[in-house]
Subunit: 385 residues, 2 copies
């Protein structure tokens, strides 16, 4: 297998882009990544997207976006793994470059979610859960996460406000990210007084959806031996794992087995220990997911993930900085695009481009992108050499 | 890149499987392929599907089917390229095995289409076309193919009945395929009297949708040096190419550029000429597509594809046998599954398992799977060694 490097990154701001179409925001991030990479064409396009058939009446985003970007004749395909679609598309492209089949690939994560009414979006997001065994019973996607959070609080004795540091850190960091959807500092008081969505998940436990796209250009590492202006970023490890789709079918619904599996494989591949990770962009779709992800990846004991927040270890200067550009919570969560936003943000950290939320001396970064309530989980480790 | 072999195949019959769910038909084909391969587990699952978000309210078919099949913890993902989804999923799995990332993969093409009303299906299939530039104008997917066929007849001087041999061959061959949706011989008279769908496309120009699933198990070729009971089938070439999504944007709407590109790359990879192809499972969603595919792949001059039918060269004993198990026209077209049905059928030909429609001495077979009206086209060449 060939080693692969990330040559270029691009992103759009996340928001309600009613004046732009799906192809326009996808294209905007792609052109930015191509420009950043200093290339005009690539051999293939891999698109991560979850909801375009439901929200935009559009399938086949591979040729749809290849057409728009001017990659006529090139290979192009869409990959879908619910909210894990972005990282799944990256992994598909990575395999093709690793195999030597292609010499460059553009990966676009894109989602246009705000053109429909809220109840349509809720129904669309529920397609990430099990239609027969979960959604059929009337449970929504946020409802599933509320059940997990409730059980976690009961089992390990935490109170709701113990989760506040996750949201506070994310919102504080997003203040310095011009692409973030939310630019608003919050406090524990504000967190506690926030409107309830599905007990115990309130509005500040939950990430906002949005329209957005992020892109990366990848190439074999040997082709980028000398870019003087910045450090070379290598994909040191990539792994994907699954769990049961329905949460009730898991032996332990409070442990993200697929996060553990994919992270463990990545540590092995990269030849590192969790302690060596300098910065971690995790999938905080709901604050409970931050805790579970930190635990499954070896940063905390079971049931003790919230403690890292309470002890101030998740901020940019802490032991394991997370959500350094705002995370899903404040940067925003355009579902199929999120996995690529995470990759873009780790590249920014490894290049030292993160201004006030820069993690000092960051050399090793990790991303974790989750589809469903932990059903598909992809982990990537990026390093500078 | 490692050479990859197809170790096992499985398929369900195509029809209206109202008594079975999406996971059940996907599982049925998967278990058949695993049994045929003589293995219980694989390292990863790749699913080809187009319509499950729209028809079954279900996304994330990777973990959905991995869960059902018992592949817990394993990597699983869905790949979508409209009606080309099946072959696109195979290609994604092929890249991962070629790269050496995994040592075995299960590919499932699956579609459950008959649980909704016809107008819902028509709307869902239209997501393969360009929502902004084509569907917005009121054109349906069959309407687009009708415009192409009309133009082809005008440009090259063919009459409608000249297309009859494509359907007659497909229906005749399906008589010997127990998995086919339609078991009904047809004649030129019947073809001509068939009900009009969208002039000039009538019911016998168009393939029937259906519920169905097909699966293959792939492994590195070196791992199957000795299966005494049957010839080893190798994936000698794989290529994917795209064209503009909207038909009107093409320089020549009567030439499938992406078919030409992907087939040409495959011939090069396999080191063969079109004349050496013994059997060709092409994408006859509409009879016009058979003609265009034969032309783009080098079996006929431009505008002369129909001649191959009229000269009886497309039957199993002809110069370039196509649709030997019924094709999309009579085997049926469960859209995201079709690409894997084609692969399964070529494997059957290369193993010599096709009874009355066996192509004598078949050693080299080709498949071509099309997404949209030629927007994404994947070609594969399989050989026995």
């Amino acid at each position: 297998m060939r080693k692969v490097a990330i040559l270029g990154i691009g992103q759009t701001s996340i928001g309600e882009h009613w004046d732009k179409s799906l192809r326009e925001i996808g294209g905007e991030s792609a052109f930015a990544a191509l420009q950043d990479a200093g290339v005009e064409k690539v051999d293939a396009l891999f698109v991560g997207n979850m909801l375009s058939p439901l929200i935009d009446s559009q399938n086949q985003l591979g040729s749809y976006l290849a057409d728009w970007i001017g990659l006529w004749d090139k290979e192009a395909v869409k990959v879908e793994a619910a909210c894990g679609s972005g990282a799944a598309a990256l992994r598909a492209g990575l395999m093709a470059v690793s195999a030597g089949e292609i010499d460059s690939a553009l990966i676009i994560g894109v989602e246009k979610m705000t053109d429909k009414a809220g109840h349509d979006i809720t129904a669309a997001l529920a397609t990430a859960a099990d239609a027969d065994y979960e959604v059929e019973q009337g449970v929504s996607f946020v409802g599933l996460n509320a059940l997990i959070m409730q059980r976690y609080m009961h089992e390990f004795g935490w109170k709701h406000s113990d989760f506040a540091p996750f949201s506070i850190n994310a919102h504080a960091n997003a203040m310095h990210n011009p692409f973030a959807r939310l630019h608003e500092k919050i406090t524990v008081e504000k967190f506690e007084k926030s409107a309830m969505v599905a007990t115990p998940v309130n509005l500040l436990d939950a990430s906002p959806i949005g329209d957005g796209a992020a892109s990366v250009v990848i190439v074999p590492a040997e082709k980028v031996t000398s870019i003087p202006r910045r450090p070379r970023v290598i994909i040191a490890a990539s792994a994907s794992a699954t769990d049961t789709l329905a949460v009730h079918a898991r032996k332990d619904p409070l442990f993200l087995t697929a996060a553990y599996e994919s992270a463990t494989r990545c540590y092995e591949m990269a030849g590192i220990q969790p302690e060596e990770i300098d910065v971690f962009e995790l999938h905080d779709a709901f604050s409970i997911m931050s805790a579970l992800s930190l635990e499954a990846c070896g940063f905390a004991e079971r049931g003790q993930g919230v403690k890292l927040g309470l002890e101030n270890e998740i901020v940019p200067s802490g032991r394991i900085p997370i959500c350094t550009r705002g995370g899903l919570k404040a940067r925003g969560h355009p579902v199929g695009a999120t996995g690529i936003y995470q990759i873009v943000e780790i590249v920014q950290q490894l290049r030292g481009e993160c201004t006030d939320t820069q993690v000092g001396g960051a050399k090793i970064g990790m991303t974790q992108n989750i589809g469903g309530s932990g059903a598909t989980i992809l982990t990537h480790i990026l390093i500078t050499e």
